[in-house]
């Protein structure tokens, strides 16, 4: 999906300090990173701050970028980790409301009673997508990230494994569990999509 070769050329120009090259990278990736951050946090201000921080970090670390890997993988790795760190830091804020930490350090969520429209309501597609976004944003952060990388960024399992530095089998197992959880949460909230 992303052109690895073209990225490498642009990154080389960035390393020479060419402002235009940084603009090109932003042009290519700001939408993907902003949307990743938005869906991780479901808050446009957080998404803007986090997205900007990701690019600032990446642009200051270009000398550490290993050219054996795709730039997009490195960028998404930094982006994903940055969002997850942010969610961890702010966890106390939400803890009492909708979650806790399991023994293995992964967050789990409690089901809240549903106050949304019942199954009889005919939802428009747009509304259905909003409900789905809401459910995704209530997934534990790791599941959230993996779901977004797969479905929103349309990356292959192999690419996701490279981004998250996880074995392929773990990536598959996690995404399967994430989808199952989405289905369960949709059902629990009587969201019919």
């Amino acid at each position: 999906m992303f052109d690895r070769h073209q990225d490498l050329k642009t990154i080389r120009r960035c390393k020479r300090g060419e402002e235009a090259a940084f603009k090109e990278i932003l042009e290519r990736y700001r939408g993907a990173i902003y949307n990743l951050c938005y869906r991780m946090t479901r808050n446009s201000e957080d998404a803007r701050d986090l997205g900007q921080e990701v690019f600032i970090k990446v642009f200051s670390l270009l000398d550490r970028f290993d050219e054996n890997y795709a730039f997009s993988s490195w960028l998404f790795r930094i982006g994903t980790n940055h969002c997850i760190d942010h969610l961890r830091r702010n966890r106390l804020r939400f803890l009492s409301l909708d979650g806790g930490v399991g023994p293995d350090g992964e967050e789990y969520e409690f089901q809240l009673p549903d106050t949304g429209p019942g199954p009889d309501t005919v939802l428009q597609r747009k509304e259905a997508l909003e409900r789905l976004e809401e459910v995704i944003s209530d997934l534990p952060p790791h599941y959230r990230a993996i779901t977004l990388l797969r479905h929103d960024q349309e990356l292959s399992y192999e690419e996701i494994a490279e981004i998250l530095q996880l074995p392929l089998g773990t990536v598959k197992a996690r995404i399967h569990r994430a989808r199952n959880q989405v289905q369960q949460m949709l059902a629990a909230r009587s969201y019919d999509i």
Binding site: H5, L8, K9, R12, C14, K15, R16, G17, E19, F22, K23, L26, R30, G31, Y34, N35, Y38, R39, S44, A47, R48, G51, Q52, F55, I56, F59, S60, L62, D63, E67, N68, K126, A128, L129, L132, E133, I136, T147, H151, D152, E154, Y157, K172, I175, H176, R179, V182, Q183, L186, I193
Partner: protein, 171 residues
């Protein structure tokens, strides 16, 4: 599981179908395995219902709407880039080499020392056999193919060295 023998795989059970349905929809199963799912789904309305539900979810997940990036997004980022530091570091960087002369341009397995050694070994053995008069038509092909990784790596090295000496002549 059932990769090797296409025709001997037992028909899929409903449990097996439910368990592998996501992989089936992801398109990551091999063909014979995929065919078992296809056949089961054709016969079993219960699993087909589950299949359709999951497919709907996949399609929804794939079509989440994009949110528009705030207009002022770039400014803060671009203002923070250490342009001067990068420009200052530039002369220290040995490269300025065209991408096709970069090591990373060749796939990693081509650059691997073992692959190159094995290639040269295969080529020499094939050459020796061919010289002894073993008339197999495969041998010349093996000679050429075996040498390819080594030659590619060496050509890159030559190119880089040529560029470096040109660079020295310039400055």
């Amino acid at each position: 599981m059932n990769g090797k023998n296409k025709n001997s795989g037992p028909p899929l059970t409903c449990d097996g179908c439910r368990e592998g349905l996501q992989e089936y929809l992801d398109g990551t199963l091999d063909k014979p395995e995929s065919l078992r799912f296809f056949l089961h789904l054709r016969e079993c309305s219960g699993c087909r219902e589950e299949h359709d539900r999951l497919l709907g979810l996949f399609q929804m997940l794939d079509s989440l709407p994009d949110h528009e990036v705030p207009a002022d997004f770039d400014a803060a980022v671009l203002a923070s880039v250490p342009y001067a530091a990068y420009q200052a570091m530039e002369p220290l960087r040995r490269e300025r080499v065209p991408v096709f002369l970069e090591e990373a341009f060749l796939p990693r397995f081509v650059r691997a020392r073992t692959v190159r050694l094995v290639g040269v070994g295969v080529a020499s053995i094939s050459a020796a056999l061919a010289l002894r008069g073993d008339g197999s038509a495969v041998l010349p092909v093996l000679v050429v193919a075996g040498l390819v990784p080594e030659i590619l790596v060496r050509l890159q090295g030559l190119g880089r060295r040529a560029l470096e000496s040109m660079g020295r002549a310039e400055s």
